[in-house]
Amino acid sequence: MALEIDGKSYETDEEGYLANLSDWTPDLCNAMAHADGTDLSDNHWEVINFLREYYEEYQIAPAVRVLTKAIGKKLGKDKGNSKYLYELFPYGPAKQACKYAGLPKPTGCV
């Protein structure tokens, strides 16, 4: 599959995750969100940036349980819960946010 943005084509897997992590840009991230009907707020970006940093450090996209705990530790208890994260990313915080962040699908996410 491929994602067409601004006349450029980006290779993705069958679920829309970028094939090459290095293709990712903030513009591409916004475009992927728009395609799903989402406008990214600062709160979305906090989670997306967190995921990119986590991947950079550990070379994996965290499972949702791990993400929730880690967000709570870093951004505060009011954000480290599944209600808050599901409101931001209704298709599943780990799945949807990882897609926008240009990461592979989280390990353990089927």
Binding site: Y58, Q59, P62, A63, V66, K69, T107, G108
Partner: protein, 133 residues
């Protein structure tokens, strides 16, 4: 019912897919809240060595992922002391894996324990399920 799972890792990290597959199964299995232990024996101890560099073999260096195990509540990591010694390694050559102890005000504690063959035998003996990679 919580069962005791042990993942036995005996092979070098690259050259075969066993090490990476084992790590992925551990991470997936961690979602099921079981009592998980990992053991590293023979060339498996190389999986945990520091400063791995895979640039020249064209494979992804997945060793940073072992440091995420603590986040997944996988914090019982046993390394066979005899296997380290045979390879001229000590625990200082291994990644400093840690976890935060929920019952002790989230104090950071080491996850790795070096054990002898007797302790390993006892560990294997007390498991319900063993995966060998």
């Amino acid at each position: 019912m919580i069962k005791k799972f042990l993942y036995l890792n005996r092979k070098a990290p690259y050259g075969t897919v066993y090490a990476l597959e084992s790590l992925e199964v551990v991470l997936i299995g961690a979602a099921f809240d079981q009592d998980v232990s990992l053991a590293f024996i023979d060339d498996g101890v190389y999986q945990l060595t520091k400063a791995q560099n895979t640039d020249d073999i064209g494979m992804k260096n997945f060793s940073p992922t072992y440091r995420a195990l603590g986040d997944y509540d996988v914090n019982k990591i046993f390394v066979d002391g005899g296997s380290l010694e045979e390879r001229g390694l000590t625990v200082d050559d291994l990644l400093p894996l840690t976890y935060e102890d929920e019952d002790d005000d989230w104090a950071e504690k080491p996850s790795i324990r070096v054990v002898d063959s007797g302790e390993l035998a006892a560990l294997i003996d007390e498991q319900d399920v063993i995966f060998s990679f």
